[in-house]
Point group: C2
Chain length 463, copies 2
């Protein structure tokens, strides 16, 4: 898919280059007068820069004057000194769980799951519920600058339809789990649903279907192998939870005399375009193994802290060459989808854990939330940085708040004082989804009213 786009872009670029000198090339959208944080291989930051967008692609990234002389936009947005950067990539969530946010906090994991989340899911999760939840999650993500997210939930084809309608990019996996699920009696049902879902969205611009076995401890060996086989056959990514808790590791050692990562290796599960979420309790051998297999990792610092799961060995994974992206996890365990908080928490957590204030500096946290997240999802050729030929997934972030004053270093501010609410404009695939804080692809009032109506049902379910 990405390759085809690149060819299209190369042709377009060649045509543009052939335009007469002095005649600006007409493009669909210019963003100008911003601090451009490219996340390109040289980590270029342009103090007064601009981005030219043509259709779904980035046409050029350069100084504002250079762009002004070479391009004219059908539409131009002057960002007046705000930051222009790649859209944020949330590598792990369960979007519809926004409808359970704050339902029950500050509990032990088993109490939380068995008294609240499982009963609520059993009684409320339906296609309608999933659509309402995804609309709310999409609203929140667009409002907070997330342009791509990876998801694992139920009725994932419904999530995909809503995601596409909202204009977001998603790597979306139907959860496959041993227990009866709201949308499947057996894992075999879920595998069949995954195949249908993948067919519906084959070659889609925005939606990348994925195979999403829940975890090694909630599936048998045959199903885990079947998941890998389906991902290989359909050439789609695989998503799985890995080593989130000590209990998972202890259970795996007891049942299989192997860590979760090693057990999955014994099944031939690991391969590229595979994303493991959490990776809190990994051995050095696990890390070497995941690096060798080209597995991407989603680090979820807020969820790992709130659920007291532990501290993932992020620096060791990065040193081993693993692409480590950031995720929020579901809003039932965070409780929001704000990737700026994920960046801040990653920087804070690893300074504390290592005892070294130099750990995960701001620029690294931003890379994790953009290009490294794209690498972790196998999408680095298409997204994660502002470079000509990539998809135009771009956000504009205001730096006007009192708490952002003064500004010595925009990257410091993005991580240590900025929130999702500071995002003013969100663009995905060249389409403006939010402008001046107004979301254009969703009816905000209707989405919120619908979510509140479903919340009443959730309340009844756990009463």
């Amino acid at each position: 898919m990405a390759l085809r786009f690149l060819v299209v872009w190369a042709v377009a670029a060649a045509l543009a280059a052939a335009a007469a000198p002095g005649q600006p090339r007409r493009v669909s959208l210019l963003l100008t007068n911003g601090i451009v944080i490219t996340q390109d291989p040289s980590s270029r930051v342009i103090d007064r820069g601009a981005v030219a967008i043509d259709g779904r692609d980035i046409a050029a990234v350069d100084g504002a004057d250079v762009i002004a002389s070479a391009y004219s936009g059908a539409e131009t947005i002057d960002v007046h000194g705000a930051v222009i950067m790649p859209g944020l990539i949330n590598t792990h969530t369960h979007a519809p769980m926004v409808l359970f946010r704050g339902l029950a906090d500050d509990l032990g994991l088993m109490e939380w799951l068995q008294q609240y989340i499982f009963p609520a899911e059993a009684k409320t999760v339906s296609p309608e519920f999933v659509r309402a939840g995804t609309r709310l999650a999409a609203l929140e993500m667009i409002e907070s600058g997330t342009t791509t997210y990876a998801d694992m939930y139920y009725f994932e084809e419904e999530i995909a339809r809503v995601t596409k309608a909202a204009g977001l990019r998603g790597v979306l996996g139907e959860t496959i789990i041993r227990f009866p699920a709201p949308d499947a009696r057996t894992p075999a049902d879920s595998l069949a649903r995954t195949a249908r879902f993948a067919a519906e969205f084959a070659n889609d611009d925005l939606i990348t279907p994925a195979v999403a076995p829940h975890a090694m401890y909630t599936l048998d060996a045959a199903t885990l192998k079947a998941c890998r086989a389906l991902a290989d056959r359909l050439r789609i990514p695989a998503l799985i939870h890995l080593a989130e808790t000590e209990d998972e590791v202890n259970g795996s050692r007891k049942a299989h005399h192997a860590t979760p990562a090693a057990y999955l290796e014994s099944l031939g599960f690991w391969g590229p375009r595979t994303l493991a979420a959490h990776g809190v309790h990994l051995t050095p051998a696990d890390i070497a193994l995941l690096a060798k297999r080209g597995v991407g990792m989603s680090h979820n610092p807020e969820s790992n802290m709130k659920l007291a799961s532990g501290t993932a060995p992020v620096e060791a994974m990065r040193r081993a060459g693993i692409a480590v992206g950031l995720g929020t996890d579901g809003a039932a365990s965070n409780n929001d989808l704000d990737m700026f908080e994920a960046m801040r928490q990653a920087a804070f957590l690893h300074k504390l854990a290592s005892g070294d204030p130099r750990a995960i500096p701001a620029a690294t946290a931003i890379r994790m939330a953009t290009i490294d997240g794209a690498r972790a999802l196998g999408l680095a050729k298409a997204i994660g940085s502002l470079e000509p030929g990539k998809r135009a997934d771009v956000i504009v972030v205001s730096m006007e708040a009192a708490r952002q004053t003064p500004m010595y270093d925009p990257q410091s501010h993005l991580v240590y004082v900025t929130r999702g609410d500071d995002v003013t404009t969100t663009i995905v695939n060249g389409t403006v989804l939010m402008r001046d804080r107004k979301v254009l692809t969703l009816d905000r009032g209707a989405v919120i009213a619908e979510a509140r109506a479903f919340a009443a049902r959730v309340r009844d379910a756990v009463r």
Copy 2:
């Protein structure tokens, strides 16, 4: 001071009670139709409640209908379902350091201090600088719902004047330190400045002057004793940094064969109305000692994480009966003054550190940011909860954002998904400082422009 207020209130309340039945008592301001989180001794939450404010005091807190029948307001603010709660109390900051925020991050403490903060302070800190910084900090605090803050910096009388003009409440201490400071050549100079400052603001409604010895490792025994004597003589609080880093503890053990807390005890330093900031590295004996002496503690989770100082034994301190408030620390090491983030981080950090997701539940984090902070500062009779007779320090917090939808539990949302930007109205001492996000006591544009001008000087100073 607080006692005098209580007498005034008691008289007013008696007069009100004597009013004819059925005739509503006229008060200056009503806040109505909110979820009232009182933080009173029974932790009452009123689903559709109201707060009656008369002059600088809270006249009544009750259901909206009860208040409507008993009070009429010269002004009424219908908050339409938002949260009404006590203003947040930031128990430790260095307000003017907002002008250094993001100047240098992700560095070792000594590099950060010696290459950036100390040179910048030496070349830029002046009365003008301190005024500009305090105005910016006050703007940020009012915008994020902080109504009282404890401060330690230089030219503290300037900080006090700006704080009073902005309408905020402050417990403000002139920093006393061994080295030449921007406003004093010697600790004796600083003690004299403290006495003058305390005289200027004696019996002030908003400003409580304090004695602020920097720390046990930056002052000799004679000065620490002189600080305690001055606080006793003037009957004002004392503020000090305590056991922030392992280095401080190791240095104290080497120099004094005692922990910092025990060394200060040997000098007779500890007493009530004394606030220690950080308390990261405390022994069980230190905790017992601080509890016995009635010392308050300021916990600064974000600063402790960002500077990799460590995890303070907050649960042990709370079990010992110490009043533990929350602080942001200066914006050079946080990098903002948002107390909602301090609450969230306290909840996250202690779950992680204890391995128990039940640690510091949301309601506890809110208590730490309100009534426990008031107790830590010796102000619990006047502020920290919404109760008749206390000062009217009240904030209104919107719950309308997508990330706050749906809402099952307002206290969960306040800690896990709310930010300072959600505060719509800030009231201190009965005066509305911000209404509908517009700050009324500061010229926002001028404050930000002035801060940016000083930032240029800071940039030059560290070049």
